[in-house]
């Protein structure tokens, strides 16, 4: 299978050739054969030696098309490349489908300290809609697109979690 690692332009071909009894796995990555010596292996955490160097991987999220992980302390997304993902990427690049795009979500957990816009009014991309407070910092949540501010989903003083929907813009 082809993998796209982070923002890197080149693809990497990767496959498992065989696994052995003494906790080692032979793989082929980028055309070269490597023996991975496993130190730790579980559902979401792997430790292994690759080319005699230690690596630690913590798998954060596994999707059908991509895997999010921390590799050696750095966050990284690996995309499994196929015709299907190409099609999906093109589609999303054109301009989004479904309702996900209407929702303005919070990127951080925090408390709502100010509602800066009125429902029913027209807003421009970048206008401040809601101000959140967390860790003694005020963080402005701005409109992600031009449109009509249909609804504000939170009240002043409320606590919000990351990815909560704060407002709907249509």
């Amino acid at each position: 299978m082809q993998f796209k690692v982070g923002d890197l332009a080149e693809m990497l071909e990767g496959e498992v050739l065989r696994t052995t009894d003494n906790n080692s796995v032979v793989v082929k990555i980028g055309g070269k054969q490597h023996t991975l010596q496993l130190l730790k292996s579980g559902t979401d955490e792997f430790e292994f030696l690759l080319d005699n160097s230690f690596h630690h991987a913590k798998i954060l999220q596994v999707g059908t098309a991509e895997v999010k992980m921390m590799i050696d302390g750095q966050p990284l997304v690996v995309k499994k490349h196929s015709k299907l993902t190409e099609v999906l990427e093109k589609a999303s690049a054109i301009g989004g489908v479904g309702g996900g795009d209407r929702n303005l979500t919070s990127q951080i957990p925090g408390r709502v300290v100010n509602i800066a816009a009125k429902p029913g009014t027209e807003v421009k991309k970048g206008d401040v809609i809601v101000v959140l407070e967390s860790m003694k910092m005020q963080v402005a949540v701005k409109a992600h697109k031009d449109g009509n501010l249909k609804e504000i989903k939170v009240k002043q003083g409320a606590s919000v979690a990351r990815n909560d929907v704060l407002a709907v813009i249509e």
């Binding site: 993998f3 990497l12 498992v16 796995v25 730790k40 690759l50 991987a57 957990p109 967390s134």
Partner: protein, 500 residues
């Protein structure tokens, strides 16, 4: 004031509470912690000799609740209160309340605190004591002529500031008298329109400034010592990120000269206990006093590493009326120390706060490394309090040794579950401008450090690409094998769950 302290209530949380607990322990003093609902599982609760609940998560109802804290101190039989930094540490009313309740406040008197807290009053006292301050008007200027006279004296460029402005608004730059006239008219009109009257003052515009401060300690017998300088120029939104001692631009002569001025500053306000005199330094090497921070500073360990002194133990000694045992000339600067403030913020996303449980963490250690932190595996990084989760310090015989040790300690420091400023500091430790000591308060913007950080992250991704693919292969192989085992109901797996 000369009562021997046997127990201290620590009116704070996080790493600084733990720092004070350690000092208490070393002095054989009972440490009494307080905690909010949010902090019941916090490390300061576990490490103190006693811990008392004082209210809900919101600071106003807990760590800022003066009455409740003083009541708790009395109920627990505390002789003294250490306020740490932030919260009530610079609140003269709290210091006074402690006093009235017969509790020693470990810090300055409320009188000194009131004076240092009022910037204009303090500036006036400093001018009298011949402490150099930023040139400009002493208060609001009467008219254009006064503004021009002051600007002439201070030297152009100058800033014209509105007394009603704030946060950078209403500030105008003038490079010469002609420009000053234009700006003065416009600013006056603007101010009159907005506030009904013009209230402008003039200050010398300082460019490419460094923030350099001197640590001070003054006992109740009037002995003052400075504990050398700290360079704190690397900042973001006026908040310090990295501090170090010595400063790359302070030589021994300058150290002595400014140190004496700093001592004069604390003598002028009859200061008590540990404090910091903050200065701006322009590229010509002039130092301008700006303010006294009347508390223990976040960055005090930097000074501890180069002097060998324990500042919190000193604070407690001074608070119980002891005289300082060392003279100025006894103090020697030993090597170099750097501190990085590890904040729970995402440097790749506008330093957005990052909160939550830290399922696992690995504190760096080794020669020259010190960590002050409240982190432990399973701890909670709360959104109710500030974002500082750890202070990482590296000592070395010289700047380069401490810098390189810091760099590798940052590599070793693993904090799961939240974003931190560690990647930013890794970039800074390798930045040629930092290495040259080319610092100023606009360092991050001036040298496009955030761009460099993103480039470094890409480089790191490139290096880890093969390992990342390997991890994906291992993960899918693990799932495949596990499923195969479940389906065939095989009793034993070759791929046993290994605990590493």
């Amino acid at each position: 004031m000369s009562k021997k302290i046997t127990s201290i209530l620590i009116a704070n949380r996080g790493e600084i509470a733990l720092r004070v607990i350690r000092a208490c322990r070393d002095l054989g003093i009972k440490s009494i912690a307080i905690y909010s609902d949010e902090d019941i599982r916090a490390v300061h609760v576990k490490r103190a000799d006693e811990a008392y609940h004082i209210g809900p998560a919101a600071p106003a109802q807990s760590y800022l609740n003066m009455t409740k804290i003083v009541e708790t101190a009395k109920a627990a039989g505390a002789d003294a209160i250490h306020p740490g930094y932030g919260f009530l540490s610079e609140n003269e009313n709290f210091s006074e309340m402690c006093d009235k309740n017969g509790i020693i406040f470990i810090g300055p008197t409320s009188k000194a605190m009131e004076l240092t807290g009022d910037k204009m009053k303090c500036k006036a006292v400093m001018k009298k004591a011949k402490v150099p301050t930023v040139p400009g008007s002493d208060g609001i200027v009467e008219d254009m002529q006064e503004a021009a006279d002051i600007a002439d004296e201070a030297g152009y460029p100058v800033l014209l500031k509105s007394a009603f402005g704030g946060g950078g608004r209403g500030i105008r730059l003038a490079n010469d008298e002609k420009q000053l006239r234009q700006e003065f008219e416009m600013a006056s009109a603007e101010s009159r329109a907005a506030f009904g009257k013009a209230a402008l003052f003039v200050e010398k515009y300082l460019e490419r400034i460094r923030h350099i401060e001197f640590q001070l300690i003054r006992d109740s017998h009037g002995n003052s010592r400075h504990l050398f300088e700290r360079e704190c120029s690397i900042q973001r939104r006026h908040q310090k990120l990295i501090e170090m001692s010595p400063s790359p631009v302070v030589d021994q002569k300058t150290r002595e000269r400014i140190g004496e001025i700093a001592v004069r500053a604390v003598d002028a306000v009859d200061y008590l206990n540990a404090g910091t005199a903050e200065f701006l330094r322009d590229p010509q090497g002039n130092f301008y006093f700006i303010e006294i921070n009347s508390r223990l500073q976040v960055e005090h360990p930097v000074t501890e590493l180069v002097t060998g002194l324990d500042l919190v133990k000193l604070q407690i000694g001074v608070a119980q009326g002891e005289e300082l045992t060392f003279k100025q000339q006894d103090l020697k600067m030993n090597g170099c120390a750097i501190e990085c403030r590890i904040n729970a913020e995402d440097p790749f996303y506008e330093f957005a706060p990052s909160t939550g449980i830290v399922p696992n963490c690995n504190l760096p250690y080794g020669p020259g490394i010190r960590v002050d932190t409240y982190l432990y595996p399973g701890c909670n990084v709360s959104g109710y309090y500030d974002s500082l989760v750890a202070k990482l310090l590296a000592w070395g015989r010289n700047f380069d040794e401490s810098r390189i040790r810091m760099k590798h300690a940052l590599d070793e420091f693993m904090i799961e579950g939240i974003n931190t400023t560690i990647p930013l500091y890794k970039t800074i430790m390798d930045d040629p401008n930092f290495i040259k000591g080319e610092l100023s308060t606009d360092y991050l913007e001036r040298f496009k450090i955030l761009n460099k950080m993103s480039e470094n992250a890409k480089e790191a991704a490139k290096k880890s690409a093969k390992a990342a693919v390997a991890a994906v292969l291992l993960q899918s192989e693990f799932v495949r094998k596990t499923e195969a085992i479940h389906q065939s109901s095989m009793p034993k797996s070759k791929w046993k769950m290994m605990r590493g």
